[in-house]
Amino acid sequence: MSPGWIWTGVAIYVAVALVAAVWSRVGRAADMSDYFLGGRRMGGFVSAMSYSATTYSAFMMIGLAGLTYAGGVGALGFELLYLCGVTLVLVFGPRFWRVGKAYGYVTPTEMIGHRYGSAAAGTTTALASFVFLLPYAAVQLAGVGYLLSGMTGGAISFTAGTLVALVLAVVFAMIAGLRSVAWTDSLQSAVMMISATLVVIVVISQLGGVGSFLDSLSSDHPGALTVPGTGFFSFSTFLALTLPWIFFSISNPQVSQRLFTPGSMRDLRRMLIGFLIFGFVYTFVAVFWGFAARLEFPELEAADSATPTLLASDLVPAPLAIIVMIGVLAACVSTIDSIMLTLSSMVSRDVVGAARRSSERAQLMIGKLVIPVIGVLAYWFAHLQLDLIAVLSVSASAGLLVMVPPIVGAFFWRRGTAAGVITSVLVAGALVLVLEFSQVSLLGQGSGIWGLVVAVTIFVSVSLATSAPHERAAEFIRTSARRRSP
């Protein structure tokens, strides 16, 4: 695979994306809402495409494909259950959106701080988000670095690959905040979807069509279409993988923040439904890709090499392989720039902004400056040992589960208190980190399950033992349920 062709492809992608990013600017952003939330006026279609690109990362075509390769159809079940979990947006979306408009929240952690009457609660949840999301961003960079260097036999080094992704993410984020991120996301999700769908269609037709494809799986690979199948997807493995992802839409701030951004409920609905349809199709594409690799290259040692191996094979014409690689690069960049944007907004709003009173302009300036800093941190993380990255990325999605009780409690339980939020997040978060680092498995269950159980228990019991901000809670809940004028 000639590096020259790859760089050409990347250059074209960058040029088009930069045009989209610059074009999305509508003048200098005046304040935090304008920069980080697109002025709360984002349209439905762009929001849906952006939500899709933000959610679906390099994980899909590399990681999920690899999971399918190793474990079979259980990977489909896991990913589809996550998609079903996005129904949480149906319940929480309108509520987030209403309170965001009413109280001017920029970040979900600011919302928690205000709802529980405690800046410390906002800061704690913001810091927890930071701890768990930064490694998640880093593993994206690492994934892209390995893919590009693997495909070119090292001609594009790991460092070069990660640098390209990082620089693109920082630039797309900084040009116009959420607007440039959302527009480049839309472009990137189109590239992701089109490239992946095309390549799967090509590969399956070369393998004899869908019917023979599925029959071969049944006959030649017993267990590939069942769970636990060949044994990879034991029930506890399945549960441990699936549970953190079911709550993704409210536990992960880079997507829950998006609930503040639509211009109207109609735009919110379009964002939700557009994403569900995108996700449904993209999931099948990634899983079938993994199955194709299984059929064609059944003897691979590492599941993560399923995608690069299949891409480099005769089944995929070289130009298409390059487009798919760019699709994976796009998936990675679109996820990272959203994470960076969200984390920057939290640092400036909930950490610095909470510690000292600062104007919107000052917060915005800090927010923009923090973006490249976070980028550098993610880059540094990505260059640590691989083992560490894998551990951190699993603990990321599990760790963020501790955000769920405070968020659910915010809208549905008047009795929740700031002390409950702070203690549950700190203790359960620490527990997840400890379990992941020590690789200890309690009763054979994953860290996320324990994290959630402990978080709920502590949140409820500490809240009941401390005094709740009754007036604030009542007003907040009333506002979240009260329809705004059409």
């Binding site: 279409l225 569900l276 349809i277």
Partner: protein
């Protein structure tokens, strides 16, 4: 004009059925479909379950008023 959200009973039933479908998506493949090693086993079940959930999302969100 602001007024509290009046929940239509049927939308509540639809919402409640989503976690039910999701629990089935955990239980059924590991029990009833455990030995069905073909596309019409767990693959079809999970697909159908998700399609149902997406449909519920479409239907319920269509009842939203277009607040601004």
């Amino acid at each position: 004009m602001r007024r509290p959200e009046t929940r239509k009973p049927w939308t509540t039933w639809l919402l409640v059925s989503v976690p039910v479908i999701m629990v089935a998506m955990f239980v059924v493949p590991y029990t009833l479909l455990r030995e069905v090693d073909a596309w019409y086993g767990s693959l079809l079940f999970w697909t159908a379950g998700t399609a149902a959930v997406i449909t519920i999302n479409v239907v319920v969100s269509l009842t939203w008023e277009n607040e601004r």
